[in-house]
């Protein structure tokens, strides 16, 4: 077989964890290649997304910043150029912070950063298999317009989002039953929204909306609404996760709206202060295991059916959207949940409850356990578990090292967690991506395996801190 090239670090998948891993590895001195099946970089951020909580939850409910690194760096860079909103930390929401960026400029920035950091790219290339020697992964096999080739590396990082490479290499994994998997969505962005009308309606109809505040705050509903009523611009609200309940209920009853989603939106900032509404809870496909190509195909069809129905309904019935228009539809569904790869440590909800700190910390997360995406996102998970003190939980390096295999790291959604602590949010994927990138580069430099690195992660931690990551000093 043709060998495309041999590298220190091969990152498979150019989504949010993959771009972070590639930048971090290259900065730590590794000859790095990033392999992506599409012609674009960014995955769920700009191709299939963004998700509402894209750049969000960077601060814990106490107001301490717990996410830095490449997330903070890219946010700052876009903010400077007018392509982001400043960190939004509505007092009444605590912990539900937002740091919105323009997804399309974010995508352009990623390409710039690849060039700046000397990352090698291999786009339009689908990874279909691994090259193994005993238990050691030596490379991957890709298919593309030039045929079938091998890409070899000292360390391979699986950033496919679904653990495709780990599984093809034989790593053990967990996956919930098909009917319990969180549902994938097609998102659409609309412009021409009358924000004054939207805000007025929200303020006048408190029973029609559900806003999330953090239990750490113990804020009463009256107090919360007092604050909402003082809002002057839509940005101050963060997002409108779902609402217009009686209008939607009526719509579902008379067949104008489907039952698989809600009406609610996040914000997309554009140059010059324009705010668009980004809908990504209005199409949810049930019973889709995205690692089965039949389900995946059917979901692409069903998600669009729902999106069309939802938008026609919203435009017709929700005050403020009468003159709005779709300006962008994601070309693929965004897959929320598939596999979790079993690694040397599994993060559990007990760790979240305790706000646990680990010696081999490589990043943090303040999201609760059990923040499941429900069929209707009007349902807040009553069993969600929050860090005891409004703080954050560490992510240990060992949760990125797949069991039974050498030469391999995993980053992004499929890192090792139990069901309820699944690390699917973008900021977590970028944190674990950056850490895996640095770890892989250190392994390549020292000539050791990712598992051998577990003995002493100090150098990785030092480099991460120098790269702006937050590892210590917060609750």
């Amino acid at each position: 077989m043709e060998i495309f090239g041999s590298y220190d670090v091969v990152v498979v998948g150019g989504g949010t964890e993959g771009v972070s891993a590639a930048i971090a590895a290259a900065r730590a001195g590794a000859n790095t290649i990033l392999v992506e099946r599409l012609g674009a970089l960014g995955g769920q951020m700009n191709v299939q997304g963004p998700p509402g909580f894209a750049y969000a939850h960077m601060f814990n409910p106490r107001g301490e910043q717990v996410i830095g690194g490449i997330v903070e760096e890219t946010h700052n860079r876009l903010l400077k150029d007018g392509h982001a909103l400043p960190h939004l930390k509505p007092q009444w929401r605590a912990g539900y912070t937002f740091s919105y960026v323009d997804p399309d400029w974010w995508g352009l920035l990623m390409f710039e950063m690849m060039a700046e950091n000397g990352v090698n790219l291999l786009l339009h290339s689908l990874a279909v298999d691994v090259v193994k020697e005993g238990n050691t992964v030596r490379g991957i096999i890709v298919e593309n317009t030039s045929g079938r080739q091998a890409v070899l590396g000292k360390v391979i990082i699986d950033c496919t989002g679904e653990g495709d490479i780990c599984v093809r290499a034989g790593a053990p994994y967990e996956k919930r039953a098909r009917e319990h998997l969180m549902r994938p969505s097609i998102a659409f962005t609309v412009d021409g929204v009358n924000w004054e009308v939207i805000l007025k309606y929200i303020k006048e109809n408190p029973d029609e909306f559900q806003f999330r505040t953090h239990p750490y705050l113990q804020m009463s509903k009256d107090e919360m609404w007092k604050q909402i009523k003082a809002i002057k611009k839509i940005e101050e609200i963060g997002n409108v996760p779902d609402g217009w309940f009686s209008i939607v209920e009526k719509g579902v009853k008379n067949g104008e709206m489907h039952q698989f989603g809600t009406v609610g939106f996040f914000l997309t900032p554009r140059e010059g202060g324009v705010i668009q509404a980004h809908f990504q809870h209005s199409a949810h496909v049930p019973d889709c295991d995205a690692t089965d190509v039949r389900d995946l195909t059917n979901a692409e069809v069903e998600a669009r059916r729902q999106a069309v129905m939802a938008w026609k309904f919203i435009k017709k019935r929700i005050p403020g959207f009468e003159k709005a228009y779709i300006t962008r539809v994601t070309p693929e569904i965004r897959v929320r949940e598939t596999r979790r790869i079993l690694c040397d440590y599994k993060i559990t909800e007990k760790d979240i409850a305790a706000g646990k700190k680990f010696k081999d910390v490589i990043g943090k997360d303040q999201y609760q356990a059990g923040g499941q995406h429900m069929k209707m996102s009007t349902m807040l998970d009553p069993n969600a578990i929050y860090a005891k003190d409004g703080g954050s939980t560490d992510i240990p390096y060992r949760s990125l090292v797949p069991k039974d295999l050498e030469g391999l790291l995993v980053a992004g959604k499929p890192i090792c967690t139990d069901e309820t602590t699944y690390k699917r949010f973008i900021v977590s994927t970028m944190v674990t991506g950056q850490a895996a990138g640095v770890a892989a580069a250190v392994c390549a430099k020292k000539g050791i395996t990712p598992r051998e690195l577990e003995k002493d992660v100090k150098e990785v931690q030092d480099i991460l801190v120098k790269q702006g990551a937050i590892l210590y000093g917060t609750h």
């Binding site: 399309d104 710039e112 593309n144 030039s146 195909t297 692409e300 300006t327």
Partner: protein
């Protein structure tokens, strides 16, 4: 190897040719499977596009409608829902009928469901299954692994002739050392344009805007005449609805000035086409503002490098547009294509090869399966001028149309295969890469494949008598006869 399924007709590639082929085949009763590497359908129309000439040039210069079928059906359906600009009132003068690409993409999924087309998305076709000269199926890779999809007739709608070339069909590609490949582009759409301000500027600076690829001589008019007409036209503009009729506007003089000052790159013009949105809204779509020089998209290293270079150019163009195009001071990026739109790679050789002389003679063929009114002989080039034209070539001889014969869809050397889309059999000077052509050849290949299966014959055997194929195409709305 695991077999995913067996079908009458297997279409590889869900771009504009592929979706047309799938709908057409399913409508003649074939059990049809459409395979696409991405999670979306539509290719160059909505994912990597749309190109400016997406829904344009459906009429010849005499004003006769020459291209219809699925392309017309989809236009009318979108127009009814408020997602398309109506057909032109005077098609001998202007010939654009823009549609909303995002709604087009959503509608195509609806049409797949309505016509019971089987889909296999997120699946990259990597090889073919052959028995002697007969193609029996394709091999795909996807999340579930490697599997075979079997079919009685396989249609290569990959856009680049990937399947035909892997099956061993001869093809042509231009010698890169001697000729410039038509460059691929990333397109971007801007919203928030002050159209009144721009139109006032166009009215007052009409003479300055003649430095544009679209302003050139024709068969019946000299360049000077065209220029005089343009000035008059520009001076008559009052609203955005006047402007969109001409399809595009190019700021050639401005581009040259900015390049000289180092504020713009040298690989394409600063200019745009139009995207209609619900409720009469217009956006500007730039698709000549990034053009990658000498990128062979069938070479993975060049394709990858092309994606990087195109985005570098896009970022420069976005900044220049906001800063220098009148009315764009508060405009903003609203959509960017996910990957390069590839203009030129392989042309697969079939039982007939279209040549420029056929275009010049407005040639008609007994085995016509559709028509084209593309003047041909013009090529994209990664320069400020964007387009170069073969000297002395003035398009279609009688300002009419030329026929597309069935034989250009039948690849040499193999059986059970058809080709549709930009890689159909043609010489480079009449490369049939335009979107209406791809939908016309797609629809014809779909019907032909369905018919072959029904009759138990090969696509090559069908060449002997295409009358039923022609009858069905006409019933499906295609225009085959009765125009210049």
């Amino acid at each position: 190897m695991k077999i995913y399924g067996e079908y009458d007709v297997v279409i590889v590639g869900g771009g504009t040719s592929g979706v047309s082929a799938a709908i057409a085949a399913a409508r003649v009763g074939a059990k049809t499977m459409l395979i696409e590497r991405f999670g979306a359908l539509g290719g160059q129309m909505n994912i990597s596009g749309p190109p400016g000439f997406a829904y344009a040039l459906l009429w010849n210069r005499r004003g006769e409608k020459c291209v219809a079928g699925i392309i017309e059906e989809t236009h009318h359906r979108l127009e009814k829902e408020g997602h398309a600009m109506p057909y032109p009132k005077n098609p001998q003068e202007t010939t654009y009928a823009f549609v909303d690409p995002d709604w087009w993409g959503l509608m195509i999924f609806e049409m797949m469901t309505e016509n019971h087309v089987n889909l296999l998305l997120h699946s990259l076709a990597v090889d073919v299954i052959k028995e002697g000269d007969a193609v029996r199926g394709v091999i795909v890779e996807n999340t579930s692994g490697r599997m075979a999809v079997m079919g009685k007739v396989i249609i290569d709608c990959s856009g680049e002739g990937d399947i035909a070339s892997r099956a061993g069909v001869p093809y042509e590609k231009i010698p890169k050392e001697e000729i410039e490949i038509e460059p691929p582009s990333i397109s971007f759409t801007m919203d928030g344009v002050d159209w009144d301000k721009l139109i006032k500027y166009i009215r007052e600076h009409a003479e300055e805007l003649l430095d544009a690829w679209a302003v050139r001589g024709t068969l019946t008019k000299t360049e000077e005449e065209v220029k005089r007409q343009r000035v008059k036209l520009y001076q008559s503009f009052r609203t955005i609805d006047d402007l969109v009729k001409i399809g595009c506007i190019t700021f050639g003089k401005l581009t040259r000035e900015l390049v000289a000052r180092g504020e713009y790159h040298e690989f394409g013009d600063l200019g745009f086409f139009f995207t209609p949105r619900e409720g009469g809204k217009w956006q500007a779509i730039f698709q000549h503002s990034s053009q990658v020089r000498q990128c062979d998209a069938t070479d993975i290293t060049e394709l990858t490098a092309g994606e990087v270079e195109a985005r570098r150019q896009v970022a420069i163009a976005l900044k220049a547009a906001r800063k220098y195009i009148p009315g764009f001071e508060n405009a903003y990026l609203s959509r960017i294509t996910g990957y390069l739109r590839i203009r030129e790679t392989r042309r697969v050789m079939g039982d007939y090869k279209m040549v420029l002389a056929d275009v010049q003679a407005a040639r008609k063929f007994p085995d016509v399966i559709g028509k084209s009114v593309q003047g041909m002989g013009a090529f994209h080039t990664a320069t400020i001028d964007t387009i170069t034209v073969i000297p002395g070539h003035h398009g279609i001889g009688d300002n009419g149309s030329f026929d597309l014969p069935y034989r250009i869809l039948v690849p040499q050397k193999v059986e059970n295969m058809l080709i549709a889309g930009k890689h159909v059999s043609a010489e480079r000077n009449c490369y049939l890469r335009f979107l209406p052509d791809t939908m016309v050849t797609g629809q014809a290949a779909g019907v032909a494949a369905g018919l072959c299966v029904k009759r138990g014959i090969t696509p090559r055997q069908l060449e002997k008598d295409v009358s039923e194929l022609q009858d069905i195409l006409q019933k499906q709305g295609a225009i085959l006869f009765g125009t210049h």
